[in-house]
Amino acid sequence: MPEVILKNLPFMLQGLATSLQISAMVALGGTLLGLIVAVILYSRVPVLSVVSRVYIEFIRGTPLLVVLFIAFFGLPALFGYQTTAYKATVVAFILFIGAYLAEDIRSGLMTVKPTLTQAALATGLTQGQALRFVVVPLAVRRIIPTLFNQYVRLFKFTSVASVIGVAEFTGNAMLVNAREFQPVTILAFVALTYLVICLILSGIGRWLYARLAVS
């Protein structure tokens, strides 16, 4: 490994840990948000499903960077509260990826035949129980590859958090570059690291899918 990388490895790995930490929190929060929104749309909850539609369309038409700026600069200014770059990043990314996950999960829910829900209802389960134990688990299993695509995407996004000063992987690497000025080496190392982690993530997705998939 080139010397410039070895020398600065702890600092950069610290950034990588932050990137992974943000990704894990956002994957969890975003999936939960996506699931709630998807169920609202699937169950056609009045009023809330209109709100959900507007939310999804708005996010899907907006760049991540702008959502990040709104969460970091815009909302705190509007509502007069303090935030940190880290918190704003987590909030912005959850809101962002949640909209995409909501659409993915909703289309997963749509693949479950209505007669399967009927079968669950016929055994005395309530609508909520049928969703919770039959429809959602089945839908989620079917869309595991799509979910992991979103998690990969989200992990790549964390690099953008450096723009508002979060000390994640890309940010720390660029700080190292400012001191050492060996951009090709440093960027190659960063790119390779992202590449490997993304490939591992999609590998996990494929493995899970093969294990849990149902026709």
Partner: protein, 255 residues
């Protein structure tokens, strides 16, 4: 003796369908249907496709809403908004044409789910019940198999076990053998015949006239959303009253 008991039971029927009509938009799928099913009675519902027989049977446990008329099961009004449908459905088992097993669960888990979640049985109790039912339908070896690894006939037997797990008072069958390969039909019918022999109240939508002849007490013939004929088995097969039923029978028995 048995027949007379059932006639007496008609004073207090298990299922009462009274003047039920239903439409999807402009299409009328059920027109003024009325019938009663007594405790322990086995009723076969037949008719051409699109005659409304599946819809009628799904109205009995409230899976299909209907616009007018009333259905009561053991005195409980199915169509009433005050009725606790999940509670009512626990007393009515249903078997579907395409089995509708939960594909992400094993056979055992399929049979346990509603016992644990709807009936609130303990997991141990639910599992014991599920295993004894699997044994009863001859599939104790398949407890941990996923539906995808079971044949159609095996899936349908698991589905029957799933319905029986809640100890229902009534069993509804919606074309339980029509999605099966011919060689698997009898393994499912055998389970149903055994069930009928034990005195289960059953409403069965089917084209299996052999089954009807063997275990049915009554046959209902439907066409275009109407109950055209509702007669004792012997009478239905010997001399159907309507031209449409005669036509239907000759077509189906020609096979």
């Amino acid at each position: 003796m048995a027949a007379s008991l059932k006639v007496n039971a008609m004073d207090k029927p298990t299922i009462v369908i009274d003047d039920v009509s239903k439409a999807y938009g402009a299409t009328q799928v059920l027109r003024h249907c009325s019938t009663r099913i007594a405790k322990g009675e086995v009723v076969v519902v037949c008719g051409p496709s699109g005659s409304g027989k599946s819809t009628l049977i799904k109205c009995i446990n409230g899976l299909e809403p209907f616009q007018s008329g009333s259905i009561t099961v053991e005195g409980v009004e199915v169509g009433s908004p005050r009725t606790n449908l999940p509670k009512l459905r626990m007393r009515i088992g249903m078997v579907f044409q395409h089995f509708e097993l939960y594909p992400h669960m094993t056979a055992l888990e399929n049979i346990m789910l509603a016992q644990v979640r709807a009936l609130k049985r303990s997991r141990a109790e639910a599992e014991a019940r599920a295993r004894s039912l699997l044994k009863r339908v001859g599939l104790e070896a398949k407890a941990n198999a996923k539906p995808a690894n079971l044949s159609g006939g095996q899936q349908q037997r698991v589905a029957i076990a799933r319905a029986l797990a809640l100890d229902p008072q009534v069993m509804l069958f919606d074309e339980p053998t029509s999605a099966l390969d011919p060689e698997m039909i009898s393994e499912v019918l055998d389970v149903m015949i055994e069930l009928a022999g034990e005195g289960m109240t059953m409403a069965v939508v089917t084209h299996e006239m052999g089954f009807a002849r063997r275990v049915a007490d009554r046959v209902i013939f439907m066409d275009q959303g109407c109950i055209v004929e509702d007669a004792a088995k012997e009478q239905f097969f010997a001399a159907p009253a309507s031209e449409r039923a005669r036509e239907f029978l000759s077509k189906i028995l020609a096979h």
